[in-house]
């Protein structure tokens, strides 16, 4: 890989210098050809199933079965099989709901906001991140439904005319939450699916068996790749990106309103919406890396598309959002202990740091604020093992954060006479483990049946996709070539 360091070309045209540190880092390593990209992404769905995949599947699918099993057990025996009770009405279930819904934020952030801000590095990770988003929202969606205790009445969450003569309380953020999450899921599915169509057509055209041709053919909706198709596609994708962008910010803001609009000390805080959104992006990126780093290990060809540079950028986002979250933690403490002068507020935070659940608080602080600081070092950002380990800390830390917010607050509020402990029951613990099984099983199925990298978008960020691109030694005849520093990456 050379850099653009020519002085003058043979025809005497001056070419701008480009020192190596300013040279663009290529988004696809080894200057892979367009055909190579198609071949190596599509082959993941086409080759014979690898042993690794089967091992993973048979490891995680049984764990996933815990979810329907234990939820049936809960429905059959009542919500009492969970450990929560007054005053601890929101325990692991809501903690896990917020945990999963938070993870579901990275996908749409990568697809929508990074798309609108023209961040080209998103192309190789957006598909997988969006899939991850959908699976995380599915895991999250289970919890409020079963948390109501009588699952068959969960439809009361939605404003449907009913024989009780009652209507949802539109002043309650719990209702906004229903709309926010269901809208988010719908738009994310549409966004993901629209982005899949051209690649599904690629798979259809490459498919050998009749069944695959038919299945991918139906899913590809008759895509032929004509100009008109692309024009409509680009417009649809842009509109969906525009629709999703506010959702990235709104969904977790509204989740935070579930707490912030209450009057419970420790919840009643205006800092919650931005702090929750930052935390969601933080946790979401950690989960993206948690899935993508092992995927690169099992499919080494992905190495050229999900490069060190991609991991580096995601690590930087984790560092940024982790620091925002850390700022929010400290600001909460400052407001509660120093600034508010409210006895109950300061007591709530005093109890967080010294009370029954104090170790959760310190685990949260360490995992979310201290551990990502290692990413200030480029060397560490480039060490996949370190990145993976820090991501696990972040995953755990974000769970602790939600438990600290929900748990410590409910355990000790205004009156000591109404304080109460909580211990999760085995049903809750294994349901939570089951959601991880469900999440990973769904992701494994996704990897096996759908192209996990957006083939056509990665091609579009290759240098030769640029209309001004000229292969090496061919730049002298065109004034464009001299007018701007060429993408060094091309060479």
């Amino acid at each position: 890989m050379a850099t653009a360091s020519h002085n003058t070309s043979e025809d005497g045209v001056v070419v701008l210098h480009c020192p190596p540190e300013l040279a663009k880092i290529p988004l696809v390593n080894h200057d892979r050809s367009l055909g190579w990209i198609t071949e190596n992404v599509a082959s993941i769905c086409e080759e014979k199933t690898r042993r690794y995949w089967w091992i993973g599947f048979f490891l995680f699918a049984p764990i996933a079965l815990l979810v329907p099993t234990l939820l049936s057990y809960q429905v059959a025996n009542g919500v009492g099989v969970w450990g929560e009770n007054q005053p601890f009405g929101w325990a692991w279930d809501i903690t896990n709901f917020v945990f999963w819904i938070g993870i579901g934020h990275a996908g749409t952030l990568i697809s929508a906001i990074l798309f609108l801000t023209r961040q080209k590095w998103r192309t190789s990770i957006n598909r997988a991140a969006e899939a991850m988003t959908l699976f995380a929202v599915m895991c999250a969606g289970l919890y409020p439904g079963f948390h109501v205790g009588r699952f068959w009445k969960a439809w009361y969450l939605f404003p449907i005319p009913n024989w009780n003569g009652i209507w949802q309380n539109y002043r309650s953020p719990l209702l906004w939450d229903v709309f926010a999450v269901s809208t988010y899921f719908t738009v994310s599915v549409l966004f993901w699916y629209v982005g899949l169509i051209p690649d599904l057509a690629t798979l259809r055209d490459r498919a050998k068996s009749k069944i695959k041709q038919f299945a991918y053919g139906v899913a590809a909706l008759g895509w032929r790749g004509g100009n008109r198709h692309w024009q409509h596609y680009e417009m649809a994708y842009l509109i969906l990106a525009g629709l999703s962008t506010p959702l990235v910010l709104s969904v977790h803001s509204i989740v935070s309103f579930d707490f912030a609009t209450s009057v419970v000390p420790g919840w009643h805080t205006t800092i919650f919406p931005p702090y929750f959104v930052a935390g969601a992006i933080f946790g979401g990126f950690a989960m993206v890396l948690t899935l993508m780093l092992p995927a690169r290990l099992f499919y080494p060809q992905l190495d050229d598309m999900i490069t060190r540079n991609h991991v580096d950028k995601m690590a930087k986002i984790i560092l940024l959002t982790g620091t925002i979250v850390g700022y929010a933690y400290l600001m909460e403490l400052f407001v509660a202990l120093v600034y508010s002068g409210n006895f109950y507020e300061s007591n709530a935070f005093y109890n967080r740091a010294t009370g029954w659940y104090a170790w959760h608080y310190y685990a949260m602080m360490f995992c979310n604020v201290i551990s990502p600081q290692i990413f200030w070092s480029k060397k560490m950002r480039h060490n996949y093992i370190v990145v993976f380990i820090v991501c696990q800390f972040v995953n755990a830390g974000m769970w602790y954060e939600r438990f600290v917010i929900i748990g410590t607050t409910l355990a000790q509020d205004f009156l000591p006479s109404s304080w109460g402990h909580y211990t999760p029951s085995w049903v809750e613990v294994f349901t939570f483990i089951g959601t991880f099984g469900m999440f990973i099983t769904l992701f494994l199925l996704f990897m096996r049946f759908l192209p996990m990298i957006t083939i056509f978008e990665v091609k579009a960020v290759k240098p030769e996709a640029d209309p001004h691109f000229h292969p090496e030694g061919d730049h002298g005849h065109d004034s464009h070539a001299t007018a701007k520093p060429k993408e060094a990456a091309a060479h």
Partner: protein, 244 residues
């Protein structure tokens, strides 16, 4: 490469949409009609051990409801009459009727008659009979024209919506206290008659003397009057009013 799909495949999504649309509409309609208490509960008429006719007792004989259901106006719960009360008459009247055999047996054994309950409010709803009756809500509002039923059946849906309709507009159900068990009674539609019933003048009710009112309007005027007079404030949006 041969085509994967025939030309006809272009129409398949449209056909699927149409069929799904029809199915969805049908499903919504079916749920709307069949899954509601209006369908599942109203008309429930279990066969009772004795074909006791309210039409005869409450209708033809004009026995007051409270003669048998004696605690309806003084207790939270309305009782069924004891066998002793029944036998108070039936040792004299129809004393050899084979239809009354279960009654005589229940009387002799002291176990009573195993009547089948028809009207049932759920356990989590706190319903007090006396409160309603003593504010002038007639039996007919929830139980229908029992005085015209040979064998009693459930006449109203008794859903929470049914309760709330009245709780949100109690003036549609209030009447003079001495007319509570007079199931066929209606508010007089003549303005002067109505006013004298309420012990006032048509002017004070904002009516013109000699006016002829619709039955609905008459009930509303009367209900509003009683609502103020009796201080009727039913819980209409507070869950804890009925679910304690």
């Amino acid at each position: 490469m041969p085509q994967i799909f025939q030309r006809g495949a272009n129409l398949v999504p449209l056909k699927i949409l149409l069929v799904l649309g029809a199915l969805a509409t049908g499903a919504v309609g079916a749920v709307w009609y069949y899954f509601t208490p209006e369908y599942t509960k109203v008309g429930y008429q279990p066969s009772q051990p004795i074909p006791f006719s309210h039409k005869v007792h409450a209708g033809q004989l004009n026995i007051d409801c409270r003669f048998c259901h004696s605690f309806a106006d003084s207790g939270a719960h309305s009782n069924l009459p004891s066998t002793q009360l029944c036998m108070g008459c039936h040792t004299q009247v129809q004393k050899d009727s084979p239809k009354l055999e279960p009654l005589r047996q229940g009387w002799a054994s002291g176990k009573g008659v195993p009547w089948v309950q028809i009207h049932k409010t759920p356990d989590h709803a706190y319903f007090n009979h006396s409160v309603h009756i003593n504010r002038g809500v007639s039996c007919v509002e929830c139980h229908g024209r029992v005085d015209q039923m040979d064998v009693v059946y459930q006449a109203k849906s008794l859903t929470m919506n049914f309760c709330l309709e009245c709780h949100r507009a109690p003036e549609n159900a209030l009447r003079p206290l001495d007319k509570v068990t007079d199931l066929g009674w209606k508010a007089p539609t003549q303005a002067d008659e109505l006013a004298s019933l309420l012990g006032t003048t048509p002017d004070k009710l904002k009516l013109k003397a000699g006016d002829q009112l619709t039955p609905g309007k008459a009930q509303k005027v009367m209900g509003e009057h009683f609502k103020v007079q009796r201080g009727v404030l039913p819980p209409d949006s507070n869950c804890a009013g009925c679910h304690r």
